[in-house]
């Protein structure tokens, strides 16, 4: 498994912490899946922040703070600086939202913010599209991980553009690639891993399922299955049948 800024993960699942029915269910979802990374955010302190922090800390997982909801470079950079201090980590999931309905990243500002943050010592996990040139620019800006979207955040549509995601995997064979956003089903997550992606980051698919803990278990099993399948070098699909049972030696019975 590839490392993320030198850090090895226990498994290829990064799990969000939002939208669970209760903190207890969130905790169980983490335990059940064994996810080694938790994404978190920063919001205006209203009293709930400290309790949440203690719970996340007690999970004993790596923390990946995000810049969710930021629409400008300035906002994202300031949020990242605050996150580094609060969570005591150089990791930042850089989100720069460009479109309100699709939450599509503004890739131009994303590259600019990635450069500023990298120069300031951050280890940036950019939430990006499946555009190869943007990927290149992010790497030039100092990113060592790319996180293309599968589909819009929270949409549960799976991998919208498999062709582009395959191309991205082929273009950046040595870069840790994470499918971030759009996963709805375990089969989507397995698909991402079968394509050779290094990890999957998801939140809504687990948190909003009728039984989040059961879905967390389903997700990790699918992710591990897809991961093993990729390593096992799957067969190519073909148009015509090919008998799997030997033809030679069949008795003449007609």
């Amino acid at each position: 498994m590839k490392t993320f800024y030198g850090t090895e993960l226990p498994n290829p699942l990064m799990l969000g912490t939002a939208q669970y029915p209760s903190p207890a269910i969130l905790e169980q979802a983490f335990r059940e899946s064994g996810a080694g990374v938790a994404t978190v955010s920063l919001r205006r302190e209203s009293g709930a922040g400290q309790t949440f922090w203690r719970m996340i800390r007690d999970l004993g997982v790596l923390i990946l703070p995000n810049t969710a909801g930021c629409h400008t470079v300035k906002e994202a950079v300031t949020t990242a600086q605050m996150a580094r201090e609060v969570f005591d980590t150089p990791w930042i999931k850089l989100e720069l939202i460009g479109h309100t309905d699709s939450l599509q990243p503004d890739v131009f500002q994303l590259v600019e913010a990635a450069r500023i943050l990298t120069e300031d010592g951050f280890q940036v996990f950019p939430y990006t599209t499946d555009d190869l040139i943007v990927g290149e620019r992010l790497l030039e800006a100092g990113c060592e991980v790319l996180m293309p979207w599968g589909a819009p955040i929270g949409s549960g549509r799976g991998l919208n553009n498999e062709y582009a995601l395959r191309a991205m995997r082929a273009e950046f064979p040595d870069v840790p690639l994470v499918i971030d956003a759009g996963i709805g089903l375990p089969s989507h997550a397995a698909h991402a891993m079968e394509l050779g992606y290094d990890a999957v980051l998801l939140n809504t698919a687990v948190a909003r399922a009728g039984d989040p803990v059961l879905m967390a278990r389903a997700m990790i099993r699918a992710i591990e299955a897809g991961w093993l399948a990729h390593q096992a070098d799957p067969i190519e699909a073909r148009d015509m049948a090919e008998p799997s049972t030997p033809v030679i030696g069949k008795a003449f019975l007609s």
Binding site: L42, R43, K74, V86
Partner: protein
């Protein structure tokens, strides 16, 4: 002094950022920004507030 704290207009006695946090009883893990600029915790004692400053105090929260 009149400031805006997390979007709320307030009249406060505090003259520095650290005094403001104490006055408003913030504790634990928080980060601060004044007028959209990050102010590290080590600089809060020295950071003097001005009338009309916009102060943000943020804390860990759920996220995806």
């Amino acid at each position: 002094m009149k400031i805006v704290l997390n979007g709320e207009a307030l009249d406060v006695r505090a003259e520095t950022l650290s005094e403001l946090l104490a006055e408003r009883e913030f504790s634990g893990r928080v980060a601060t920004a004044v007028n959209e600029e990050f102010v590290p915790s080590s600089l809060r004692i020295a950071h003097r507030l001005s009338d009309g400053d916009r102060v943000e105090v943020v804390a860990p929260m759920q996220g995806g």
